[in-house]
């Protein structure tokens, strides 16, 4: 079997046996990038020599008989939202065009400790604000299944990279669905763990109470392994929770007996594409055949998730992005009349349209006279959303839903209608507001041969259950084995 068609586990086994070297594996992915990325434009940075050097080091370590890490020799692509020491990190923004971080993000350290090969930095919506990767200041990433369509966003580069076999694994960040929705659009596995499961140290902040890092892979086992490597407490992020990290990759193949799957009636309403609905209903039948019980649950406040999110996330962003002042790092304007004007000119030039929109939206919601009506109100409805889930998880183990109302939309289709773009996030936002883990797995194709994603959500810190549930479905289907023809 070819290297590019192999799963992460198959790669590991072949590397362990010595059937292939990391240099072979890394070269295969670098060649795939060289051939196809001019079209897909998933990567903002690929340093072939640096990647091959890492691969050679791991090969040497293995050949010398030293113990190697869990991802030894396996390439991983990084969304350009995580800081990489000495390697440019742009966050998809002109503001950080020349930013070279002086330290590694916690997850980057973890990957290095696991002997992974860091193959490149992937494209994203500027500061992770967007659902299509069209808000990147640098390039528009294409969906490998249909180059006229978006890969989703904001982690569209990472999703497209895995989908186009340019990397077996990738890291993304998910503030309102930015891992799960692009995974669905690109036909790969993407997971947002519980808030606090993975340290955010070195993750460029967008909305700090919602941001969470997570894995992309071509199958559930690959996602389980990468999650295992990324997870765990880090004193440098005081919101990272100090609870033991299960060996997700070890238990992932064990089916769950007596599984109860919840289906929310609020998720099957107007606006949901018929083919997407049919795929999700078929997926539920697969679970029924496996002996799971499918039960209706109610999430009455889920209809308010978009409104709550687009108050809370911009409010946090307006505060977080105040750090870009043209003084410490980032873009500084050439022409200005005084200090305040330097801030305004630098920020006016350095930020793109959507980032400015969210900064102003947040500033509005937090400003005197509006704080109670918007921000405080949103925080209260956020609690009601969480309480709906707490109630639902009393009677079910996971909740199944579409990941997005439609398959991948066309490039240019929604980008000039921000509200319509926001509404496309309807199925993913609640998990961030409530802090829940969620996974998206391939669950079929539309008539136009576009992937359809199944989202599964669970109670906090139930990642193991989520992965095992996802794997039960994957084992019965071959959607995840389909690859886009480039």
């Amino acid at each position: 079997m070819s290297i590019l068609g192999a799963t992460t586990n198959e790669l590991r086994v072949r590397l362990e046996r010595g059937d292939v070297t990391s240099v072979d594996v890394t070269t295969a992915y670098l060649d795939q990038i060289a051939v196809h990325d001019a079209q897909v434009q998933a990567f903002l940075l690929v340093d072939r020599d640096a990647a091959l050097e890492q691969a050679r080091d791991v090969d040497a370590k293995r050949q010398a008989g030293h113990a190697v890490g869990k991802l030894a020799g396996v390439p991983v692509a990084l969304k350009d939202v995580v800081c990489t020491k000495g390697v440019r990190t742009t966050c998809g923004s002109r503001m950080l065009e020349n930013f070279v971080p002086p330290y590694d993000a916690h997850v980057v350290q973890r990957l290095k400790e696991a002997d992974a090969v860091l193959i490149g930095k992937t494209n994203m919506d500027e500061f992770a604000m967007g659902s299509s990767t069209e808000n990147s200041a640098y390039q528009v990433t294409k969906n490998p299944w249909d180059l006229a369509r978006t890969p989703g966003g904001s982690s569209g580069g990472s999703a497209a990279a895995v989908s186009a076999s340019m990397a077996p694994l990738a890291i993304g960040s998910d503030t309102g669905g930015s891992i799960r929705q692009p995974a669905g659009f690109c036909g790969v596995v993407g997971m947002k763990p519980t808030y606090g499961r993975i340290s955010r140290f070195g993750l460029v902040a967008y909305a700090s109470s919602l941001d969470q890092l997570g894995p992309f892979a071509s199958d559930v086992s690959g996602a389980a392994l990468l999650l295992e490597v990324m997870s765990g407490h880090d004193a440098r992020d005081s919101t990272s929770v100090n609870v033991p990290v299960p060996e997700y990759s070890r238990s992932v193949d064990e089916p769950l007996a007596g599984l109860r799957i919840g289906v929310a009636r609020e998720h099957f309403v107007e606006g949901l594409d018929r083919e997407v609905e049919a795929a999700i209903r078929t997926a539920l039948d697969v679970y029924r055949k496996l002996g799971a019980e499918v039960k209706e649950v109610s999430l009455p406040h889920s209809q308010y998730a978009v409104a709550v999110y687009y108050i809370i996330a911009p409010s946090e962003a307006s505060s977080n992005l105040a750090r870009y002042d043209g003084v410490h790092y980032g873009h500084r304007a050439k022409d200005f009349s005084n200090m305040i004007d330097m801030y305004s000119a630098s920020r006016g030039e350095g930020f793109g349209t959507e980032v400015k929109r969210r900064i102003m939206l947040g500033a509005y919601a937090l400003s005197a006279g509006y704080y109670d009506a918007y921000y405080l109100k949103a925080l209260k409805v956020r609690r009601l959303i969480r309480q709906d889930f707490d109630q639902a998880f009393q009677s079910v183990d996971v909740i199944a839903s579409p990941v997005a109302p439609t398959p991948a939309f066309k490039i240019g289709e929604l980008v000039n209608d921000p509200l319509a773009m926001y509404l496309s996030d309807i199925y993913t936002l609640s998990a961030n507001l409530a802090g829940l883990p969620g996974i998206c797995i391939p669950a079929g194709f539309s008539g136009k041969n576009l992937p359809i994603g199944l989202q599964l959500l669970a109670a906090p810190f139930q990642e193991e259950r989520l992965l095992r549930t996802a794997r039960m479905f994957e084992r019965e289907t071959d959607w995840h084995k389909q690859r886009a023809k480039l």
């Binding site: 109470s209 980032g330 000119a345 009601l384």
Partner: protein, 99 residues
Amino acid sequence: MATQLTRADVQKVALLGRLKLSDAELEAYTQSLGNIIGYVERLNEVNTDDVEPMVHAVELSNVFRADEVRPSLPRADALANAPKSERGFFLVPQILDER
């Protein structure tokens, strides 16, 4: 209550956010922000009497750590990305008049 967002409102939040906008941008944002604000006002339908605001998904109390001296980022590294620096400091435009 449908709040009508005006150009002056957008000018105000642009000032708060320290964002220099062109006239065309001001015009476009007045429209798009107005639409979004109009949409989020549906939260007024929800009764939130006696509901505590939820600021965080994991409701942690203060996380304490020992107050220990540890190495910090070397000054040269901290300054390496600065648009302008001089003699070990970040350089900013003059803010006080010379007298």
